[in-house]
Symmetry: C2
Subunit: 319 residues, 2 copies
């Protein structure tokens, strides 16, 4: 859920606050902020959904928007290997949306929260002079040893994803074409966070790095590479039915998990994952040494040739 | 920072989530959500500032808005007796505000954060199709025994406030009349949270209940009464220069702290407070028994007569 130029702005913010004491928090650079407390760690994330940018009110129901607001946030918690326990919700609403619309929104918010026992513990509601603006903060907990970070990838690691990709990007096309009831449209409008999968993967020592795929593999794998100071080669992608390869690689909002796994344990982990969740872990590539401090993604072709882009592959953008 | 009808909506949300496990959190009803962890407690609050509702972009500088976004949130943390340690910031910006405006905003955000060592640990930025929307979540920590709640008021307690009231409401009038540089206008545009005062008051056993004054004494004292199941009589108010009595009683955004204090220790506490902070604690009234389960505020007149309002006195509203 990021805008063009956001990364520069975030980088400048990061620099601005670099001189301040950390107050017990780990550094920025993951899906969540991490606060170790004894043997436990708390994780925190905030995501905003804005009318006209993240959803179109005539194409999403209030219920779907409420549902999605929770899922996109607890996906970030799951991506740390933590269990989401609570959210805070800030909601700005135009006057005419108070009443039926806001109640449907809360029903969707409740349904997504209830699914994983995530309690709503606070927030703010206010009038908006313009569109709907939703901001959610999610809080998660985990044993400190379970927390997975982007920076943990090692040379030789197998890169894996927890489900098919591209359905949300294909679904967005359906939605824009007024086909609101296709399977992919539904996935786009009401994504499911991989909460149980994330918590389970947090417990697996073989998993070295993890993040969720909110901006596309091209963008999210790049974050892992930047934080881990590594490169990667992507050799295969599980493309969802109705989606294109480019949807799976560069599309956004799939909310699957991207992990890098110790090579010697990847096959065994995939078996155990499939026994536990009835779905495969897909092997999509491998972590390699960086080339002269350039952390890039190569795309392996059928003939073995590897393509690089000097500009990076980019990720999902709302523009 | 609340809209007309918000309390009903919040009540319905509270009811909706009542059947869910608490996940370690205390119940809703305070300035912050409270998560006890061993001998410590973490507190969480979210507040949203919306263009056209909480600020007018042609009357506030970006710096002031950034500054205020932090202060209104850490005021809620201080009101629990906790020390603010971190914030998450979600920011929706129209395209033309990216650049100079967003940088000034962050300078103000940084200045307010730096003042109390509050680290920015995460968040989200996105484009807005309409105005600026700012949502901040603040995180605080305190020894568990220090946490003050609204529900702690006891019959006979002295009601006190930590500073003069009404300046912000008077300042809002100045701002709307284009007098942007008056003392009160500045207080309205760049409020100061009583962070050190809140943390200190958290350590004082004599303080039974605490909240911040964001919606006016009439509204915020009422929250203490509702949670504590008590009534109160207000006999005096420290009205800021240039403000009216009604600004002090019903105006919003003063961000002073409202406490109820053990009667036998109130005078001593006020002395110690003044020695510590060089400013008085003002005695504004007393907690009384409720009358037939009605928790109301009486206003004591000079002749000793006490006025009640069957409709309640109401608080600050943006409408």
């Amino acid at each position: 859920m990021r805008m063009y130029g956001e990364f520069d702005f975030i980088a400048s913010i990061r620099e601005m606050f670099a001189d301040m004491p950390k107050r017990g928090f780990e550094g920025i650079g993951d899906d969540c902020a991490v606060l170790p407390m004894g043997d436990e760690a708390l994780v925190f994330t905030s995501d905003m959904l804005n009318e006209g940018i993240h959803f179109l009110a005539d194409k999403s129901t209030a219920y779907q928007i409420g549902y999605k607001s929770v899922m996109v946030n607890i996906s970030d918690v799951a991506a740390m290997g933590a269990k989401p326990v609570a959210t805070l919700l800030s909601l700005a609403l135009p006057e005419e949306r108070f009443g039926e619309w806001s109640e449907d929104f809360m029903k969707g918010y409740y349904a997504a929260s209830k699914k994983y026992g995530v309690k709503l513990v606070g927030g703010d509601t206010t009038k908006s002079e313009s569109g709907v603006c939703v901001s959610v903060t999610a809080i998660g907990r985990a044993p400190k040893a379970n927390i997975k970070r982007r920076k943990g990838a090692k040379v030789g690691d197998v890169v894996m994803v927890t489900g098919e990709l591209g359905a949300s990007a294909a679904g967005l096309r359906d939605v824009l074409a007024e086909k609101l009831r296709t399977r992919n449209a539904k996935i786009h409008l009401m994504p499911e966070a991989q909460v149980l999968e994330g918590e389970w993967l947090g417990k697996q020592e073989a998993v070295h790095a993890m993040c969720d795929i909110s901006d596309g593999v091209a963008s999210d794998l790049q974050h892992i590479l930047d934080e881990s100071k590594k490169s990667a080669i992507v050799s295969a992608l599980p493309v969802a039915k109705g989606a294109k390869w480019s949807d799976a690689f560069g599309g956004g909002e799939d909310y699957k998990l991207l992990i890098t796994v110790d090579k010697s344990q990847a096959e065994e982990l995939a078996k155990r994952f499939e026994r536990k969740f009835g779905a495969p872990l897909y092997n999509i590539g491998r972590i390699t040494k960086p080339n002269c401090d350039v952390y890039h993604i190569g795309i392996e072709q059928d003939n073995g040739e590897v393509l690089y882009s000097s500009a990076g592959w980019g990720g999902y953008s709302h523009f």
